[in-house]
C-alpha cells in the first residue's frame, strides 16, 4: 500500500461528503456529510504522518485536534438544529432563510 492509495481513498470520500453537503435538504443530513469530510481530512493527516514523517507523528497529533473540533461542531450544530426545529417546525435548509434580508 502506497501513500497514493490512501490519498485517492480520502479524495473520493471527501467529494462524496461534499455531494451530500450540496444536495441534502435535511440539516441533520448536512451535518452528517460534514462529518464525512472531516474524516477524509483525518485519513490524509494520518497517512502523511505514516509515510512522510514516520518518526515524529505530527499528523496523528493534528488529527486528534481535528476530532476534538469535529465533536464540538457536532454538539453546537445539533443544538442549533433543535432550536430551529422548535421555533420553525422544520429543518429543511432551503426553507430556513430568516437571516436573509
Amino acid at each position: 500500500m502506497t501513500l497514493y492509495h490512501y490519498l485517492i481513498l480520502s479524495a473520493i470520500l471527501f467529494v462524496i461528503g461534499m455531494y451530500g453537503l450540496l444536495t441534502r435538504r435535511n440539516a441533520v443530513g448536512v451535518l452528517m456529510s460534514i462529518e464525512l469530510m472531516f474524516n477524509a481530512a483525518n485519513i490524509n493527516f494520518v497517512a502523511f504522518s505514516k509515510f512522510i514523517t514516520p518518526n515524529e507523528f505530527i499528523g496523528q497529533i493534528f488529527s486528534i485536534f481535528v476530532i476534538t473540533i469535529a465533536a464540538a461542531e457536532a454538539a453546537v450544530g445539533l443544538a442549533i438544529v433543535l432550536l430551529i426545529y422548535r421555533n420553525y417546525k422544520g429543518i429543511e435548509v432551503d426553507n430556513i432563510n430568516f437571516m436573509k434580508w
Partner: protein, 161 residues
Amino acid sequence: MFDLAFYILAVLILGSALMVVTLRNIFHCALFLVLCMFSIAGIYILLEAEFIAAVQVLIYVGAVTILMIFAVMLTHQLTGKTIRQVNDQPIAALFIISSLLVLTLLALSKTTWEVASSSGVSPSATELGRALMTVYVLPFEVVSVVLLVALVGAIVISRGD
C-alpha cells in the same frame, strides 16, 4: 494480506458513505454513518495509528453518531413521512464534485512525495501523550477551552426559555 484488508475497508467506507448521502430515510443514514466510521478506524489500524483508531471508535461511533440519532429522533416523526430529502441541485452538485475530484487527482499525480523510511517502530500512546504534554501543550490547552465553550454554548442554545 494488508492489500486485501485495505480494499475491503475502502469498499466498505465508500459504499456506506454513498448510502449516507443518498438514502431517503435519515435514520438509516445515521446507521450507515456508524459503519463508515468503524471502517475508517480499521484504516487507521492499517496505518499503525492505534490510538487514533480507538479515539475514532470512542468519539465518532460512540458519541457523534449517537448525537445524530438523538437529533433525528427529536426532530422527525419516524412514521409516515414522505418529505423530499434532496434539493433540486443534484446535477450542479455532480458537476462540482466531479471537477473537484479530477483536479485533486491531477494534482496528486503531478506531485512527488518524499516518502521517508520508517524506523519500524510505530508511535505508541505513551509517546503521543508525552508530545501532547510537552511540545504541543499550548494547542492542547486551547482546544480544551474551545471544547468547553462549545459544550456550554450547546447547552445554553438548546435549553430554550
